[in-house]
């Protein structure tokens, strides 16, 4: 322990440099050279509004942006960015990262602190996804919140015209009543039609319960509904005790009661949307991104509509998990100034308005405003191509917003980030494996109790 170490001095020198220039090789004095490298999942490299915003930035600033296409799955993107960052091998400037990764990437030194606080125009709930350990690590680019899709027409046929269900209890009892009556009627009238095929059974509800990130999202929403606290990082302490068990118990009950079909355990966003759009479910939890695909088959506003998720009876909160992406500066960026400039441009007031108009959930409050003083989208309507990840059709006229926008706005303000832990990924794996086991088991609370314990263990990073 007595050996004096020169590395310490070097580290100190480096720390001093961090304050000045970012402590990275190559970012010396003088203008930054080369294209700004933006690493992203595939959805940015195709045509679309986000691509258009990047091109607009290039035109205005004269800088070029090169988009590197990361693996096509979110897990693959995270894995590559994290591992390359740990190996000191990532040569990117801007990372387009899932909101659930902020804590881990910050802790692992893959991204650098943004340095300043975010302006007050960003939605408070969304800002939380960019914060960790008292610092801001990125800027919210586009966000998302879960919505309750419901069959307006069928519910009205069976006496529920006025509003979507207020809470899960109501949803479940309506589902049982309406699907029971509907299926009996369909069986009577369906005979002889449909080429002799049996008409499909109408189920109460579909959601995303395949073992992937969607299952974690649905589980968290169930746990929060059952009294869980989104800000807590433990499921075995204080008021949190039992919320996770109760939440997954509720999911299982919906499955065992036949409100959800058995197939829901293999469903992702697309597959559950297909069921709902095919008229095989009365309710669906899904992201607004599926709105347009449903609208291809069911008339929006007449046959189906969207609402916020059911309210928690104790306090009326309607908490969805926040989705979306943040833009962060890579810790190894050699063009931090350009990176910053690009991020600021892509997340500015006018850019966010463009995103909203083209079907994304904007992260700024002003984007949802109407009337004088509200920001306008600078892109020409001719650029309005439609893309994956955005709902469709785009606004009927430029400057307008999609029909579900007010509902989405309310849902976003009530939404909450997933547990902000450097070990979120392990937590999510635990949830996926244990919850699927539990849902397909004959029952018993042992797995659910084990889940809570293991979830805590996962979030702490420790093996006990």
């Amino acid at each position: 322990m007595t050996a004096p170490r020169t590395t310490l001095t070097a580290a100190l020198a480096c720390l001093t440099l961090v304050a000045a220039s970012g402590c990275t090789a190559g970012s010396g004095p003088g203008p930054e050279k080369g294209a700004i490298v933006l690493a992203t999942g595939s959805d940015l490299s195709s045509s679309g509004v986000r691509q258009d915003l990047i091109r607009d930035f290039e035109k205005r600033t004269g800088r070029t942006v090169r988009i590197v296409q990361l693996p096509d799955t979110a897990d693959g993107q995270r894995s590559q960015l994290l591992a390359a960052g740990q190996s000191g091998n990532g040569g990117y400037d801007v990372l387009n990262i899932d909101v659930a990764w902020t804590a881990e990437f910050a802790e692992a030194g893959v991204i650098r602190p943004w340095g300043t606080s975010l302006d007050g125009d960003f939605l408070d709930s969304v800002v939380k996804t960019a914060e960790y350990d008292g610092k801001v690590w990125g800027v919210p680019f586009n966000t998302d919140a879960g919505l309750l899709y419901y069959r307006k027409d069928i519910l009205a046929d069976y006496g529920h015209h006025y509003r979507p269900p207020a809470n899960w209890g109501e949803l479940e009892s309506w589902a049982k009543q309406v699907t029971g009556a509907y299926n009996r009627k369909a069986a009577r009238s369906g005979k002889g039609q449909n080429h002799g095929k049996k008409p499909p059974t109408m189920y109460g509800m579909v959601a995303q319960l395949r073992p992937y990130e969607g299952l974690t999202v649905n589980t968290l929403e169930a746990a929060w509904y059952a009294g869980g606290d989104p800000d807590a990082t433990s499921f075995t302490k204080g008021a949190q005790v039992g919320s996770l068990q109760q939440g997954v118990g509720d999911l299982k009950l919906r499955l065992d009661d036949g409100i959800m079909p058995h197939e829901v355990m293999t469903m992702d966003e697309t597959e559950s949307r297909r069921w709902f759009a095919d008229g095989r479910a009365l309710f669906m939890r899904n992201w607004p991104v599926e709105y347009a695909s449903v609208a291809e088959k069911l008339t929006p506003g007449k046959k189906f509509d969207v609402a916020q998720l059911p309210a928690r009876p104790s306090d009326g909160r309607r908490m969805s998990v926040l989705g979306g992406q943040n833009l962060a500066i890579s810790a190894q960026s050699t063009r931090p100034e350009g990176a910053r400039e690009l991020i600021e441009a892509l997340t500015g007031r006018r850019s966010e308005r463009c995103l909203l108009e083209r079907g994304f959930a904007a992260t700024r409050d002003s984007a949802y405003r109407e009337g004088p003083g509200a920001p306008t989208c600078p892109l020409s309507p001719g650029d309005a191509r439609r893309e994956q990840g955005a709902t469709r059709p785009p606004a009927p006229r430029p400057g307008q917003e999609p029909p579900y926008t007010r509902t989405l706005y309310a849902a976003l303000r009530a939404a909450q980030p997933r547990p902000r832990s450097a070990h979120y990924q392990t937590f999510s794996k635990v949830v996926q494996i244990r919850v699927s086991q539990y849902l397909s088991s004959p029952g018993g609370t042992a797995i659910a109790d084990r889940l809570a314990k293991e979830a805590d263990e996962a979030l702490s990073g420790v093996v006990r």
Partner: protein
């Protein structure tokens, strides 16, 4: 040896910890040492010291140490534990150990081990004294120690004359103390307590991987004086804890009564709290150490093995094995008990993996921000597919590894592959429908020749379905087996090449259209009874199930028969009915899939040592019968053989032991024997046995394709199809409607002429397409008529059309004879199967597309994540499609 038990006596622990020095380098980790040790010593699990018996001393001046020693020496009656962590120095002769306190200067204001510490301890009233020294030259304390007169045990952090490179650890304490606390806190397996001798022994094991600054082994030392027995330092045990003896409980009771009567009242009150409450309180974990993110490992495998490896990786992550420090890990990078690695498991088709390794330079370049990742003339980048740069790769068999290596440049690749050997086996099988079991052929011992004869037109008339040897490891190894072990004898020595005539004969039996699939699980999924197969569409094969014999692996066939999840088919509530199952026939002497674990080292990784160590740890655990082998066995794999080389039998809990799996647990596992050259020759033989083929890709280029992100997905699928092209397998790319002649419904734009061999040209054309969609409805039937007419006339043997379609917009105003002409064309002359990728809202579920697939003997695939690979599998089958069965 008797063990001294100090429970219930008046004990003292003095923890002297110096982290801040005025004149010496600070030791931040030492701060945590004090806290960690205090926590452990007062933990109910260790059951020795009470909270007020542990003192922490952080001395600035030597007199503070003196004072603290004086106090504890006077108070302790049972066990006195003295612990020092800080800087230490010795004289030039190695003697006269000096402990350094906060204000210590080089040669004065120090605490003399011999003259101060030992002198005070020698006058202590305690029964036993235990000293732990963690400082440089701690090992030099042993000498003076022998002059003391009290029963003392001394633990020295290192051997004599060694410094310690430690104390900078940012969190969780120094390496040595972390190990001490870990042992004391957890106890030792099969032991009811931790004694001084136990601790020494455990520490040696714990620190076995550490080095001293002199780069030799770091070895804690111990010494005893005036005592022969052992002292218990912790009662923690991983097993069940024995009840505390009555004499000790009485001793404690009396202590309490004497000293703390108020607390006694409280305890009485707690006794009346329900027992469960008490348990919860006792189980509350201490403050968990903050763990840094674990090292992210990227595990690439084949789609078939992905679910099982995902489960295994998860089990490893959550196991104690994953908390051992890694080589190359900075001291204190991770706190005690923190997970060291996390593993993301992903998969890619075999040809994509091969291409990735062959272009490892580009892979690395994309990861470093060089080059473009968008589809360009070189095709989609490896970072997109196969995906992340793997740290470990587990292909289905060694043949896959040989193939990948063959494609890599001899030198200069930034990826170095190290084969560490198999981690799991599964024999290759031919699934025979239960009702068509073969006469006179022994399932566990049949040669390929017998199997081919038994299934041929003269006998059971079964279609042999094999996954594509290009896309799937199962397909490749089955082909190796077919060509090299046809007569049931073992694969010959290196140099044995497959007999071309034999390859031709074998391939002629694998000629049914659609007989090749991207992978074995997707093949089986398509045979599942009653599946309405939402992705497979029109001609999907459950109707063929009873007349097919799939060439797959034992594991995937067992999954299929037992109704477990298979490819994109979800798990069923129960195993399949007997009549729907396939019986596994094991072709004799065909090597089993052996799943070698390949470590991949990427040039320039700053954390290469830690990464290598993490991969090796995982590999070791995977092969451990109590670790990964259990998980893999539960998933239906055979284990790797033990030391005696015996073929491992399925272990308890294996689905293979379920008789409804229709597999034979006693069937032999044949290790992989062919050499790389033989594998190459087999593939060469396969290619030669394939007739050349011509493919026409006909793409819908109407603007509706841009909706909802369909276009990039369609382009990706078309690009995947082009990757199948080569010298013998040519292609062309046509799009419709034609911008220049949008009024002519049957006009097509010939973006790439037929007969092209280079995928790059087509990919460039696809890239241009994203900006050039045509504002006009797409009249599919008319355009298809043009295409079919051309292909019918094109000559050659294996012609097919890949139709990528959003919606047929040509319905209104279609001339009456269009459909009739198309039908006639499709039915006449040489067969031209139409393989449709349906991007539209109804997928393959339309009358027109079902009719098209049926009439042309083609297939329809609905848009979805697996669509590109499904389509690629179908296209691979075109190579032999024209040869009719029987």
């Amino acid at each position: 040896m008797s063990e001294y038990d100090a429970r219930g006596k008046v004990n003292r622990a003095l923890l002297i910890c110096v982290s801040d020095y005025s004149n010496l380098r600070p030791l931040p980790a030492v701060k945590d040492n004090a806290e960690a040790l205090e926590r452990v010593l007062t933990d109910p699990a260790t059951d020795l010291f009470t909270r007020d018996e542990v003192r922490i001393c952080t001395p600035q001046e030597p007199w503070e140490v003196e004072q603290a020693l004086d106090e504890v020496a006077a108070e302790a009656r049972g066990l006195l534990l003295v612990y020092f962590s800080g800087h230490g120095r010795v004289g030039s002769d190695g003697g006269n150990l000096q402990l350094m306190v906060g204000a210590s200067e080089r040669r004065h204001k120090t605490v003399s081990w011999q003259d101060l510490v030992l002198r005070y301890l020698d006058n202590a009233r305690a029964d036993r004294i235990v000293i732990i020294l963690e400082c440089c030259y701690a090992g030099n304390a042993g000498e003076a120690f022998y002059s003391s007169r009290k029963p003392m045990s001394l633990l020295m952090a290192a051997q004599p004359n060694r410094r310690i490179f430690s104390g900078d650890e940012p969190a969780g304490g120094s390496v040595f103390t972390r190990a001490v606390t870990r042992v004391l806190e957890r106890g030792i397996a099969d032991r009811q307590s931790v004694t001084f001798d136990d601790l020494v022994q455990e520490l040696r094991a714990e620190l076995a991987d550490e080095r001293t600054p002199m780069d030799d082994a770091w070895e804690p030392r111990s010494a005893k004086q005036n005592t022969t027995d052992d002292v218990i330092l912790s009662f923690a045990t991983p097993g069940a804890r024995p009840p505390v003896p009555l004499r000790i409980r009485l001793r404690r009771w009396l202590n309490l009564l004497r000293a703390h009567w108020i607390r006694l009242l409280l305890i009485l009150a707690i006794i009346f709290v329900p027992a469960t409450g008490g348990i919860v309180l006792l189980n509350l974990p201490g403050d968990a150490p903050a763990c840094r993110p674990a090292l992210e490992l990227r595990l690439l495998t084949a789609p078939e093995a992905e679910p099982a490896l995902r489960q295994a990786a998860f089990d490893y992550e959550m196991s104690g094995a994953n908390t051992r420090p890694l080589d190359g890990e900075g001291i204190g990078d991770h706190a005690d008990g923190c997970r060291r690695a996390q593993i993301t498991v992903y998969s890619a088709a075999k040809d994509q993996t091969d291409r990735g390794f062959a272009a490892a330079g580009r892979w690395q370049g994309e990861a470093q921000g060089a080059g473009s990742g968008t589809p360009d003339d070189q095709g989609t980048g490896p970072l997109y597919r196969p995906g992340p740069q793997p740290d470990l790769w587990i292909p289905e068999s060694t043949a896959d590894y040989d193939e990948a290596r063959r494609g890599m440049p001899a030198t200069g690749s930034p990826a170095a592959l190290h084969n560490t050997g198999p981690v799991a086996y599964t024999p290759l099988v031919v699934g025979i429908p239960w009702a068509k079991r073969l006469n006179d052929v022994e399932p566990a011992d049949a040669s390929w020749r017998d199997l081919l004869a038994g299934t041929d037109g003269g006998h059971r008339r079964l279609k042999l379905l094999r996954p594509s040897p290009v896309l799937s490891g199962t397909g490749l190894l089955h082909t190796v087996g077919l060509y090299l072990a046809a007569d049931g004898t073992a694969i010959g020595p290196s140099g044995t090449a497959p007999d071309p005539a034999l390859a031709d004969r074998a391939e002629s039996r694998l000629s049914a259209p659609g007989s090749q699939y991207a992978g074995s699980t997707e093949l089986l999924c398509s045979l599942r009874p009653g599946s309405d197969d939402p992705g497979g569409g029109a001609a999907a094969g459950s109707k063929d199930a009873g007349t097919s014999a799939p060439l797959v692996s034992e594991k995937s066939l067992a999954d299929f028969n037992l109704g477990r999840a298979t490819g994109s088919c979800p798990a069923l509530a129960s195993p399949l009915a007997l009549g729907d199952r396939y019986v596994a026939y094991y072709p004799k002497n065909v090597p089993a899939l052996d799943h070698p674990l390949i470590r991949v080292a990427w040039r320039g990784a700053a954390d290469a040592a830690a990464r290598q160590s993490a991969v090796e740890r995982f590999a070791q655990w995977l092969r451990d019968p109590g670790g990964g082998q259990r998980t893999l066995s539960e998933q239906g794999y055979r284990g790797v053989s033990g030391n005696n080389g015996a073929t491992p039998q399925p272990a308890k809990g294996s689905p293979l032991l379920d008789s409804r799996a229709e597999t034979d647990p006693h069937a032999r596992v044949v290790p992989f024997a062919a050499d790389p050259d033989q594998v190459a020759k087999v593939l060469d033989g396969y290619n030669k046995a394939q007739k050349s083929s011509q493919l026409l890709i006909l793409m819908d280029a109407s603007t509706s394709m841009a909706d909802g992100g369909k276009l990039p997905r369609a382009l990706r699928a078309a690009s995947r199809v082009m990757e199948m092209a080569g010298a013998h397998h040519t292609y062309g790319l046509w799009t419709f409607p034609d911008r220049e002649r949008s009024d002519d419904r049957s006009a097509v734009r010939k973006a790439v002429p037929l007969g092209s061999t280079e995928p790059a040209r087509g990919k460039a054309a696809l890239e241009r397409m994203s900006g050039g969609l045509v504002e006009h409805g797409a009249a599919m039937e008319e355009a298809l008529t043009t295409a079919v007419r051309t292909m019918k006339k094109a000559g050659g043997t294996n012609n097919a059309i890949v139709l990528v379609l959003d919606e047929d917009d040509g319905g209104p105003g279609r001339a009456a004879d269009v459909e009739k002409t198309l039908t006639g064309l499709l039915k006449d002359g040489p067969e031209v199967p139409v393989l449709t990728l349906a991007m539209g809202r109804s997928g393959c579920d339309t009358f027109a597309l079902q009719w098209l697939a049926g009439t042309s003997n083609g297939r329809c695939v609905s848009d979805g994540p697996t669509a590109p690979d499904q389509l690629a599998g179908l296209v691979a089958s075109i190579g032999a499609a024209a040869k009719e069965e029987q």
